[in-house]
Symmetry: C2
Subunit: 248 residues, 2 copies
């Protein structure tokens, strides 16, 4: 709810292991934080199985609906790594061996069967551009779809290579006021404050700590001065409601 | 890829705070693990903003595509808590004050303005059933859509109340073989093994530990004896590839 048109992104988290509960995703929070810094807002995220039809459909639709699509996972050498295939299908392109990737992957010697598996990772859809990772495997980009690894450390390296190539709007900043106060105690004035300041997005996030209920009030927007004002107002609002302010 | 028809679920994780990267979701992994235990497979999860149009559309579509839909978040008393409203709209129903919830919420005295905010949490779509939580706030269910809290501790209590009311298929079990072996080393035989056993789903999840690359091989299926066999085969496969087995 900022006045500028936000630049949007959708994150597609690919992998049965996230959906089975075996693996806890930590990539979304990192990607969202980093994109936010350069003025790109993660508007949705979808956690998807290793299923070609579902992936192709999601990649195609997300590519149309959002400015950027970031995928994580499914780019290794095994049979369940089908992200490159699905991105190619979504755009009606063929997969090609990328020469640079092939050279990199061939650098370390291996028996033919192992090399054949490894070279699956050199397949990039026609016209795709590499996303540079100084520390290892590269990702790639086709149109507005950016394909990153699932392993968090590798994903972060690839993301660092990707970020300078993306175009964001004005970054969204936030102010947080945390207090021992229940949401009901501040719901009325908070709603009124939101109505009075449509260019700022006000969120309220309850928590429990030491057996007491508290609330984090978060203001988001692109205007730092307006955010500073809202922060003061939020503190008064908590005090008026009889809440106890905590360090945010 | 089990031979029985799986019972499916979609998890809708509602809240700007997850998409901004401020809050790390931990509910999905817990829900997926618990549902798996009773034979319900989380097939997709969507992380969605506090936006009525997007939520209504997602609730409606997920309700049609999956056997169950579980939502987390957006059921508090503040202006950004719109899950109940959106579930009502998705099913074309009115929101009603639930008498039982109202009585509960009125039990603790409060000034009229605070009580008015608190009573937002007693609004349930027409015909909705409560999801019991012995420790506090209840969730509710409309058709196949089950509405839970976002705070993990409260969500877990509600989920415990919900689980006995859901009907699953045969639970999906898993066996994991973990080894210092690269995915490329075992990709060939692993792919062949998957082709030979279509009723079992084989996944391969790379990791790095102490500067070495390893892989977790996970077999999932409903037939315990078949899984035991596959586990032995996976161990031989790793040994043949020269990998070093680790405790899973």
């Amino acid at each position: 709810m900022t006045s500028e048109t936000p630049v949007t992104a959708c994150v597609l988290i690919i992998g049965d292991e996230i959906l089975s509960g075996r693996t806890q995703d930590v990539n979304l929070a990192h990607i969202a934080t980093e994109l936010n810094e350069i003025g790109i807002q993660v508007s949705e995220a979808h956690v998807l199985p290793d299923d070609e039809a579902i992936l192709v459909d999601n990649i195609r639709k997300a590519s149309e609906r959002f400015d950027y699509v970031i995928t994580t996972g499914g780019i290794g050498p095994t049979h369940d790594d089908i992200t490159a295939d699905c991105v190619a299908k979504a755009f009606g392109r063929e997969l090609e061996m990328n020469e640079e990737l092939e050279t990199l992957l061939r650098r370390r010697e291996a028996p033919p069967e192992i090399m054949a598996a490894r070279l699956r990772m050199a397949r990039v859809p026609q016209g795709g551009e590499l996303i540079r990772n100084p520390n290892g495997a590269h990702g790639f980009r086709v149109e507005n779809v950016c394909v990153l690894a699932g392993i968090p450390r590798v994903m972060r390296d690839m993301l660092s290579g990707l970020l300078p190539t993306l175009k964001g709007a004005k970054p969204v900043r936030s102010r947080t006021v945390t207090a021992f106060v229940t949401e009901s105690q501040i719901a009325g004035p908070l709603g009124a404050l939101q109505q009075a300041h449509p260019s700022i997005s006000l969120g309220s996030y309850p928590f429990s700590r030491d057996g007491r209920y508290g609330t984090s009030l978060v203001a988001r927007g692109t205007d730092e001065a307006a955010l500073d004002n809202i922060e003061s107002t939020l503190k008064s609002l908590v005090a008026d409601a009889g809440g106890e302010l905590l360090d945010s």
